[in-house]
């Protein structure tokens, strides 16, 4: 078993060429390991292939961020693509009053336990769930749901009937009479997908017109996951998936297979035997788990920082050329603001007081509105702003011409300040990029000198 994909990829990465752009040969080397890791996590072979192919296409010629090794860059792309494939968190859609949820799945997948967990979850959200044992063929199924419901003090439909249509109709009537707003139907499970089970589920579906049809599937399922999910979706039509038994050490690649083959969202994970052990999907966490690497988020953060650094460099370059357009101006004000408490420091530099004023929350909103009301051309070359343009901008941003004039004065002042600082050392003593203000986006050292 691959313990740590990151280490493996990093090993390969030693042979990868240096910085710059990701090369095809490098990517292919990395993808072989990724594919292997995915299969070892029980992702279906075909799904794993399609996935790595997608990553390859995206990664080729991708620029490697400055602080990244090619391996990190590759892993970052893999992580992001995986999170994308796992999909977003989608809450239950309970449109009707009462709303019905159908739980379908194979025997042993954990339908009844999940029914209880869902009821507990919905109750916590202020809904009034009503459990319906809808397997008319197996009396044991009825008993199991009844016993669990009683233990959790959850209401259930307690009449035994041998006709599922009749059962559904009576349950619906009961729910209206007793004012339950969410019906959870625990349908029959079979060892395998057979016509009898499918027909039973279809009858129930046609009778209750459910808001959600959720496939309950064992999170430890192997390559067969595509068959199970594919068949249920084709024959019954599902709206989402709940993966159970995810509290073990299975990597849960079945999630990816099922998602890929049905396109339906993973809604919850079952993470234990207690009624409260139902967890909303965390795409990031699941991606980390499937890949067996814990640092997708770290890489993303690093990437964000890297982008900021590149932006800062760009800005510095513009400064050197004494070009500072209004977009840069706005970006810089925001960046400084994000750096945290800097009032004291601003007091120490010439023109700092004006800058402080600009960073006032209310003022910042107005500044932003003004700049965003300008055309691209005006932002790049503020000299073109004449009286009629200013009136237009004032109208568009809900400010006044005076305010625009004031802003332009401040802008010119900052620009002048920059020019003066140009001559000084780029990593001056007062505010250098990684000084005490090292958190948040990095400032170009020469902003303050």
């Amino acid at each position: 078993m691959l313990e740590n994909l990151t280490d493996r990829i990093k090993q390969i990465a030693r042979s990868l060429s240096g910085r710059g752009r990701l090369k095809k040969s490098d990517i292919e080397k990395g993808m072989r390991d990724i594919r292997r890791a995915l299969i070892e996590a029980d992702v279906n072979l075909q799904v794993a292939r399609d996935f790595t192919k997608g990553v390859e296409e995206e990664a080729i010629n991708q620029k490697v961020y400055e602080s990244f090794t090619p391996a990190e860059m590759l892993l970052k792309i893999v992580g992001e693509k995986l999170i994308e494939l796992i999909g977003k968190v989608e809450p239950l859609k309970l449109d009707y009053q009462p709303a019905s949820i159908l739980l379908v799945g194979l025997q042993g997948s954990g339908k009844t336990t999940t029914a209880i967990k869902l009821a507990v979850h919905l109750k916590k959200q202020g809904r009034k769930p009503y459990l319906i044992p809808a397997d008319v063929k197996r009396p044991a199924a009825f008993e199991q749901l009844r016993d669990l419901a009683e233990r959790e003090e959850l209401p259930y439909f307690g009449t035994r009937l041998d006709n599922e249509v009749k059962l559904c109709k009576q349950a619906l009537t009961q729910s209206v009479l007793r004012r339950y707003d969410t019906l959870i139907f625990d349908t029959a499970g079979r060892l395998h997908i057979d016509t009898e089970m499918i027909n039973q589920v279809k009858k129930i579906k046609n009778t209750v017109n459910p808001s959600e049809v959720l496939l309950i599937a064992d999170g430890m399922t192997g390559q067969d996951a595509v068959n199970i999910a594919g068949e249920f979706d084709k024959q019954v039509g599902i709206t989402g998936i709940i993966l159970t038994k995810m509290d073990g050490d299975a990597r849960g690649g079945a999630a990816l297979s099922m998602r890929a083959v049905t396109g339906k969202p993973i809604k919850f994970l079952g993470i234990g035997e207690k009624p409260s052990d139902l967890q909303l999907l965390h795409p990031e966490r699941l991606a980390s788990r499937i890949l067996g690497m814990g640092d997708i988020r770290t890489l993303q953060e690093k990437a964000e920082k890297s982008i900021e650094e590149e932006k800062a460099k760009e800005f510095q370059k513009k400064l050197k050329e004494a070009k500072l357009d209004l977009d840069d101006f706005l970006h810089q004000i925001k960046s400084i603001k994000n750096m945290g408490p800097i009032e004291d420091l601003l007091d120490m530099i010439p023109g700092g007081k004006d800058l402080k004023k600009l960073m006032d929350e209310k003022q910042l909103i107005r500044t932003e509105a003004i700049i965003q009301s300008m055309t691209l051309d005006e932002r790049r070359n503020p000299k073109v702003l004449n009286a009629s343009r200013k009136r237009r901008i004032a109208g568009g941003s809900g400010t006044s011409v005076q305010e625009i004039n004031q802003l332009m004065k401040e802008y010119e002042m900052v620009k002048k300040m920059m020019k003066q600082m140009k001559g000084r050392s780029p990593s001056g003593p007062v505010l250098s990029g990684q000084g005490p203000l090292g958190r948040g986006p990095m400032m170009p050292p020469s902003f303050f000198g």
Binding site: E40, A140, E143, M220, T221, A225
Partner: protein, 288 residues
């Protein structure tokens, strides 16, 4: 339902694909065989090793060599047993929902049909409905059962059951246990205690500790087997739910890595749908 019929889906997928491959000669042939094995849940490393063993083989012999390799692998681990002293105690363990209770019901039927005196014991005092489910099986196959109430100490149920099996001169005692994920150490400890209590009664008991594995389980099956083996020592595997589209290839990995033999295959929901494992038939049915 016979094994061949039960494995028809598995077989038709695998054999058709392998046959399609065998007519051709191209360098990617081995890679494609590897893919087929992976899709049957053999796991990457087992599939790789099997394919590596074919490297110096003519392509028209790939299939027969693969078959031989697998039969050898599966048979090598089959253990020779002395005739055990009755009652033979078989303890069934496994994660949740794999089909332990059903496997016991069918195993009881298999033994009863051979004329053996069989006693069942419901050691699953946790899952609601578990006792009822096994009681129904006992009634259906006409054997006795020892039960206890919900929440009772499962080890004491097992102890009482061994007592009963001895005094009633039973040939076999089949003990059901609550499903537990192999990562839950407290539940695994509880299982260890259960086994220890049985051994206290007579030190050769239980003669069999059988892990029931769902055939559709992926790579985690090996982790399950490793963990259960470590905690309580396994003597065999029962592969359940083999009649669907799942191939149960993880059984090969378990045999290969841990040397624990496959004893039974579950191939349906009826009482006769549990069959003793036979390597030739299994592999034959897989590739026929």
């Amino acid at each position: 339902m016979g094994l061949r019929e039960a494995l028809k889906k598995t077989r038709s997928n695998l054999s058709k694909n392998i046959r399609n491959l065998l007519g051709r000669r191209d360098p990617s042939l081995l890679g494609e065989i590897e893919d087929l094995l992976i899709q049957a849940d053999f796991g990457v490393s087992t599939a790789e090793q099997l394919v590596e063993s074919l490297e110096n083989v003519q392509s028209q012999d790939y299939y027969s060599r693969l078959e031989k390799e697998l039969i050898y692998l599966l048979n090598e681990r089959e253990k020779k047993k002395q005739t055990p002293k009755p009652p033979v105690v078989e303890l069934y363990v496994g994660v949740n929902g794999v089909g332990k209770t059903t496997t016991i019901g069918k195993r009881g039927y298999m033994l009863a049909k051979e004329g053996k005196k069989v006693l069942l014991a419901s050691g699953d005092t946790y899952r609601t409905g578990a006792v009822e489910q096994l009681s129904k099986w006992a009634k259906r196959i006409g054997v006795d059962i020892i039960t206890s109430h919900y929440g009772a100490d499962s080890a004491s149920v097992a102890f009482d059951a061994v007592d009963a099996a001895e005094t009633r001169n039973m040939d076999y005692l089949l003990i059901d246990t609550a499903g537990r994920l192999h990562t839950r150490s407290n539940l695994m400890e509880e299982m260890r205690k259960m086994k220890r209590v049985i051994s206290k009664k007579r030190e050769d008991l239980p003669q069999e500790t059988i892990l029931v594995v769902d055939a559709s389980t992926g790579q985690n099956a090996l982790e399950q087997a490793k963990s259960f083996n470590e905690f309580i020592g396994l003597t065999g595997i029962a592969l359940a739910k083999l009649d669907g589209t799942a191939k149960g290839g993880m059984a090969i990995a378990i045999v290969k890595e841990l040397g624990i033999p496959v004893l039974f295959l579950g191939i349906g929901e009826e009482e006769e749908d549990l069959i003793p494992f036979n390597a030739e038939d299994f592999v034959c049915a897989l590739f026929e």
